[in-house]
C-alpha cells in the first residue's frame, strides 16, 4: 500500500533538484515497443506518467492525439496499461508512477476495480484531465481506499477560489498547466508561471510540477529553478513520431532526449 510520490519529492529536495516527470502514451506505437520505451524513459525520470489512450482526447494537442490513435489502432487495451505499469514497477522500485487520462475509461471499468488494478500494478497516483475538483467525488473514495494520490490540475485560469478547492482534494503533487491551451502548445511565460506558483504555494505545501509545452532543456531548466517538478510529454512522444519506422532509433532518441532533460533538473548553488 505504499505510495512513492512523497519519497520522490523528498529525495529530489535533498539533492537540490526538481523532479523530472516524463509522459508517454501506453501502447504507442504498439504495446510491445511501448513497454520498451516506458522502461527506457523510467531510467531517466523521477516520475513516469503513463497515458491511458482514449478515443476523444479533447485536452491534447496533435502529438498526443496521434499517440492515442496509434495505440488504439494497434490494439492497446486498458489491461496493457496496467501490465506496462507493473513491468516498470518491477524494474524501478523507487520511482513514482502516475496514470493520466480521461474519465470515461476508469468510469466504464468502475473506479473501484480500476483503483485496485492500478494499485496492484504499482501505480502511485491518477490524474484524470476531465475530473475537476467539483466532480472528484465520483472517484475520491475508490482512490483513497487504495492509497492512490488523486493528482489535480491547476491552470492560469484558476482563481484563488478554485485553487483552494483543488488543493483541498489534491494529493501527491499539483500539476500546474503552464498555459491556457492543450498539450504540446507553446510554453507559458516563465515569469507568469512563477507568479502563479507563489500564489498556489500560499494554499498548499504539496509539491508543484509544471507541464504543457516544455520542449527544450533550456525551458525545463528555467522551470526547475522554482518548481518542484517539470513535466515533459509531447516532446518525448515526438521522439516516437519522428522515428516511427526505426525502433532502435526511437529508443536511443528517447533516451538521449530524456537524459538531456534530467541533467537540467539540478539547481545550481
Amino acid at each position: 500500500m505504499s505510495n512513492h510520490l512523497p519519497e520522490v519529492f523528498q529525495r529530489c529536495e535533498r539533492e537540490n533538484r526538481a523532479a523530472l516527470v516524463g509522459y508517454l502514451t501506453a501502447g504507442d506505437p504498439n504495446v510491445q515497443t511501448s513497454e520498451r520505451l516506458m522502461l527506457t524513459l523510467a531510467e531517466q525520470v523521477d516520475i513516469l506518467e503513463i497515458g491511458m489512450p482514449f478515443s476523444d482526447p479533447a485536452a491534447d494537442g496533435p502529438t498526443i492525439q496521434a499517440a492515442s490513435e496509434r495505440a488504439l489502432t494497434a490494439g492497446a487495451h486498458i489491461d496493457d496499461v496496467f501490465a506496462i505499469a507493473k513491468r516498470v514497477r518491477q524494474a524501478k522500485p523507487e520511482i513514482g508512477i502516475v496514470l493520466m487520462g480521461y474519465a470515461n475509461v476508469p468510469y466504464t471499468m468502475g473506479f473501484e476495480l480500476f483503483a485496485s488494478k492500478a494499485k496492484q500494478s504499482g501505480v502511485d497516483g491518477v490524474l484524470l484531465v476531465d475530473i475537476p475538483a467539483e466532480e472528484s467525488g465520483i472517484c475520491a473514495e475508490a482512490f483513497k481506499s487504495q492509497n492512490l494520490s488523486q493528482i489535480m490540475l491547476l491552470a492560469p485560469t484558476s482563481t484563488e477560489e478554485r485553487i483552494k478547492l483543488a488543493v483541498n482534494i489534491a494529493e501527491g503533487f499539483i500539476y500546474y498547466v503552464s498555459l491556457a491551451g492543450i498539450t504540446g502548445a507553446e510554453m507559458g511565460e516563465v515569469a507568469k508561471i512563477k507568479e502563479k506558483l507563489s500564489l498556489i504555494r500560499q494554499y498548499t505545501k504539496l509539491p508543484i510540477c509544471v507541464g504543457f509545452g516544455v520542449k527544450t532543456p533550456k525551458q525545463a531548466e528555467s522551470i526547475a529553478l522554482f518548481a518542484d517538478g517539470v513535466v515533459v510529454g509531447s516532446h518525448f512522444v515526438s521522439q516516437i513520431t519522428s522515428n516511427i519506422d526505426d525502433r532502435d532509433a526511437m529508443l536511443s532518441s528517447l533516451s538521449s532526449t530524456a537524459s538531456a532533460m534530467a541533467e537540467v533538473m539540478k539547481r545550481q548553488g
Binding site: F54, S55, D56, P57, A58, A59, D60, G61, Q65, E69, L72, H77, I78, Y102, A103, N104, V105, P106, Y107, T108, M109, V129, D130, I131, P132, E134, E135, I138, M152, L153, L154, A155, P156, T157, S158, T159, R162, A166, V177, L179, A180, G181, I182, A185
Partner: protein, 408 residues
C-alpha cells in the same frame, strides 16, 4: 406571446440533473464555464435581455412559428391527428437559431468579440454564422471532414455569412470530433472567445442554457395546441441527437402528465447492427464532452466510431444529460427510426403536405407517424418539425437514385 421565464426542473448548483450532467471539463475551462454560468443567470434575470432576445426571435427569426394541423398526412396515416410544430420556418431553416441568438447576446454582454462553434449537419454552424454576421463578431466553425462532404450547401452558406469553416480530420471526422476540436481551440482562446455550444449537452451550464433558449418551441406549441384543438396533445415527439429540439419541445410539457413525451433516436442501419446513434436506447452512462450522460462506447470506455445516421445532425455518440435523467425517472419514452424509415417519412410528408423536412426531423416524423397510426382519430400527436430539408437534398437524391440528367 408571453413566454414563461421561470427556470423549471433546474439542475443542482453543479449542473447535475439527477446523477447526470455536471462539469467534467479540464481545469483550464472551469473558470470560463463559471463565467458563462454567472453571465447566463444574470442575463436571465434581466428583463432587458429578454426584451431584446424576444424581439429578435419575433422580428428576425420569425417566431412564433406556426403549429400546423397536417390534415392530408393524418388522413393518409389513418390514425391520430398529426400536428407539426414548424421550426423549419425559422430564419436559417431550423430551431438552432433560438439558441444562437440567446448565446450571441450573452457573448456580447460578456464583451467577447469572437465566437466559435461545432457543427454536425451544419444547421448550428449556419445559425451561429448568421448571428455572428448580425452582431459583427468574428466566427470560426469546426466541422468534421465527413460532414463537410455530406452538407456542402450549409458549408457554402456559412462561408457566405463570413465564417471560417475549419475541417476536422481527427477521429471519425464527424460531430464528436468537431466538438473535441472546438474545445481544444476554446481552451487556448477563452479570454476573448465565446464558445456557442449547439446542443443541450456538454458541461454545465450548456445543457440548461440551451434548453432554456429552446423552450419557446414547447411553450408556443402547448399554447397553440390548446387554441387550435382545445386541448393538449396526447403525444409529443421530437428527434434526438444531442437533444436541443427535443428539450425545446418536450421540457415545457414535463409537468403535463397526460402528454406522452417521445424522444426519437437515429436507428441508422438498425439498432441490432451497432451502426446507429441511439445513445439512450443502446448506450450506457459515460463521460464525454464535459458531462455524464448516456454514450455509445465499447467495453473499455472508448467512444464508438460506429455511430451512424443518414442525418449528420443525429450522428452523435452522446446525448444531453437531462434527457438521460428524464428517461431514468420515467418521464421520457424512447423510440427510434432507421435511415430507411426516415427517408420514407421524408417522402411521405413531402408528397402529402408539400413540406420538405430535414432528415433529422424525418426521424421524429417516422416515429410520430407510426405512433399516430396506432391511435384513434380523436387523439393528437404533436411532432417537432425541427428543420427544413434543403440541406439534405444531395443525400436524398443519392438515396433515391435521382440524377439531374435525363430525369427531369
Amino acid at each position: 406571446m408571453d413566454y414563461d421565464l421561470e427556470i423549471k426542473h433546474a439542475p443542482d448548483e453543479g449542473g447535475h440533473f439527477g446523477k447526470y450532467g455536471g462539469r467534467f471539463a479540464a481545469e483550464t475551462l472551469m473558470q470560463p464555464l463559471k463565467e458563462i454560468e454567472d453571465a447566463f443567470f444574470e442575463a436571465w434575470a434581466d428583463p432587458e435581455f429578454h426584451t431584446e432576445r424576444l424581439d429578435l426571435l419575433k422580428n428576425y427569426v420569425g417566431r412564433m412559428t406556426p403549429l400546423y394541423y397536417a390534415k392530408q398526412l393524418s388522413e393518409k396515416v389513418g390514425g391520430a391527428k398529426i400536428y407539426l410544430k414548424r421550426e423549419d420556418l425559422n430564419h436559417t431553416g431550423a430551431h438552432k437559431v433560438n439558441n444562437t441568438i440567446g448565446q450571441a447576446l450573452l457573448a456580447r454582454r460578456m464583451g467577447k468579440k469572437k465566437v466559435i462553434a461545432e457543427t454536425g449537419a451544419g444547421q448550428h454552424g449556419v445559425a451561429t454564422a448568421t448571428v455572428a454576421a448580425m452582431f459583427n463578431m468574428q466566427c470560426d466553425i469546426y466541422m468534421g471532414r465527413e460532414d463537410i462532404r455530406r452538407q456542402a450547401p450549409n458549408v457554402f452558406r456559412m462561408k457566405l455569412l463570413g465564417a471560417n469553416v475549419i475541417a476536422v480530420d481527427s477521429g471519425t471526422g464527424t460531430l464528436k470530433d468537431a466538438v473535441n476540436e472546438a474545445l481544444r481551440v476554446w481552451v487556448a482562446s477563452c479570454e476573448d472567445t465565446y464558445y456557442i455550444f449547439g446542443t443541450a449537452a456538454g458541461p454545465h451550464p450548456f445543457p440548461l442554457m440551451v434548453r432554456q433558449f429552446h423552450t419557446v418551441i414547447g411553450q408556443e406549441a402547448r399554447k397553440q395546441c390548446l387554441e387550435q384543438a382545445g386541448r393538449l396533445p396526447d403525444v409529443a415527439v421530437a428527434c434526438v441527437g444531442g437533444g436541443s429540439n427535443a428539450m425545446g419541445l418536450l421540457h415545457p410539457m414535463w409537468d403535463d402528465e397526460g402528454v406522452r413525451l417521445v424522444a426519437v433516436e437515429a436507428g441508422g442501419h438498425g439498432l441490432e447492427t451497432g451502426e446507429h446513434a441511439a445513445s439512450l436506447a443502446k448506450g450506457r452512462p459515460g463521460i464525454i464532452h464535459g458531462s455524464l450522460s448516456y454514450v455509445l462506447d465499447d467495453d473499455e470506455g472508448q467512444i464508438s466510431a460506429n455511430a451512424h445516421s443518414i442525418s449528420a445532425g443525429l450522428d452523435y455518440p452522446g446525448v444531453g444529460p437531462e434527457l438521460a435523467h428524464m428517461m431514468d425517472v420515467g418521464r421520457l419514452n424512447l423510440d427510434s427510426a432507421t435511415d430507411d424509415e426516415a427517408l420514407q417519412a421524408f417522402e411521405m410528408l413531402t408528397k402529402t403536405e408539400g413540406i420538405i423536412p430535414a432528415l433529422e426531423s424525418s426521424h421524429a416524423l417516422a416515429a410520430g407517424i407510426r405512433i399516430a397510426a396506432g391511435m384513434s382519430s380523436n387523439k393528437i400527436v404533436l411532432i417537432n418539425l425541427s428543420g427544413r430539408g434543403d440541406k439534405d437534398l444531395n443525400t436524398v437524391m443519392e438515396k433515391f437514385g435521382f440524377h439531374t440528367e435525363g430525369q427531369l
